[in-house]
């Protein structure tokens, strides 16, 4: 199936953060598509993801299945269009308090190489890499339609990077879409089908 024939899942219309010289950006994301975003540090890649998640005041609007972000409560939008920051945040002492009640840790954690019993650990006991993987894991819910991932595997070893990529491929096959900020060109080539670049505040198709 050609991309043009696929249904547009998420669209950005005139999204801009002029104060920070980003945009205006128009962009469409298809169902099941993973788009990689590259660019120099400070180019605005994270700002772009935050803007899609409506985490900063901005111009323009985003649409999911035709429904405008501005037309629904922000919390509802973010449960469907979910941003996972490069630096993970933890608001409770125990690891399991960050997951929905009833989460099956024994089944879930080993899929990203974290011990099954880590649910009962204090967050401080997790390594940086474990935190990064669990932050991704806790963001995955049945409500996700678009995942906005900021460097989800930076600093992970090859084995764990492979685990995370496998997890993302599984999610993609369920019909969601991913915007993936990554510095790792090989990773972009492995899982992304389109490659974009943020430069001078614009989102450009990367010449391959």
């Amino acid at each position: 199936m050609k991309i043009a024939e696929r249904k547009s899942l998420c669209m950005l219309k005139g999204c801009a953060l002029r104060r920070l010289h980003l945009g205006p950006i128009d962009f469409a994301l298809q169902v099941g598509e993973c788009v990689s975003i590259a660019g120099k540090s400070g180019a605005g890649k994270s700002l772009l993801l935050r803007m899609v998640a409506d985490l900063d005041p901005h111009e323009g609007d985003a649409l999911l299945d035709g429904a405008a972000c501005s037309g629904m409560p922000a919390s509802q939008w973010r449960r469907m269009v979910t941003y996972v920051a490069a630096e993970s945040g933890w608001w409770d002492e125990r690891v399991d308090a960050h997951f929905l009640p009833g989460t099956d840790f024994a089944a879930l954690f080993p899929s990203v190489g974290v011990p099954a019993e880590a649910g009962a650990w204090p967050v401080a006991r997790l390594s940086t890499g474990e935190r990064q993987r669990l932050a991704l894991l806790r963001a995955l819910t049945p409500q996700n339609r678009v995942l906005l991932l900021d460097e989800p595997t930076s600093g992970l070893d090859a084995e764990n990077t492979e685990r995370v990529e496998q997890l993302l491929r599984n999610r993609l096959s369920t019909g969601i879409a991913i915007l993936l900020v990554t510095h790792n060109l090989e990773q972009a080539a492995r899982i992304a089908t389109r490659h974009l670049l943020v430069r001078d505040g614009q989102l450009l198709e990367e010449p391959s």
Binding site: L55, P57, S75, R78, V84, A85, S88, W91
Partner: protein, 265 residues
Amino acid sequence: MSPPLLGYSDLAIAAILVVLNAVLTWMLELGLTRTILIAGVRVIVQLLLVGLVLKTVFALASPALIAAVAIAMFAMASYEISSRQERRFAGPWGYGIGAGTTMLATLLVTAFALFGTLRPSPWYAPQVLIPLLGIILGNVMNGVSVSLNALNTAIVRERTAIESRLALGTDRYTALKPLQRSALRSGMIPIINQMSAAGVITLPGMMTGQILAGMDPLEAAKYQILLLFLLSGGAGLGALGAVYVAAWRITDERDRLRLDRLVQR
């Protein structure tokens, strides 16, 4: 027994303690010397001046003058609150949140005391109104400034944690609730301690003053109880109001954390 009158030389002897404190922090390089000395000088100037002003106000008993004194007290309390903030809101909010919640809580509790329990005649009798307003205002000011400062610094410190929750679809008040709770606790602990320690560990300042000035200890105790209830009510209301208005202002209706609305001193 008539109360012992203090001479200025007695005050000078007590001032040695403050100077000693300042010298110690200077030697230990704790960076508080200037602050301590300035506070010491301020307490002398302010209290003597207030003593003089109140003497005049009591003598004249003019409602306009009493109102003017009350307004001046509010203005100074507002200034104190905003200058206690490590990170305050930009623009008029920097002043407004602390000032507004303090004023509201103080007025409510003072009115409650004037019309509910003390019932002086006339109700604005300066001998009752001004000291009452002063002590309530002071405690509300403490509660508000401590809570507000605790909340704002905690929000800045916990930014990634809060934004992680928001990004996962938590609404702003749920995401800020734990921080509000602990900020409120910081603001309320002094007055709660004061109530639980009253008489057992410390003799409250007002009661001490009254007993030294010759009042019957049981009567002094009743006044002190009334006062502590008023103060805890005021501090609690003020801190609660401040913590909620601040949480509302530091976020927006799209459940975003708006740290751009804070300025650092």
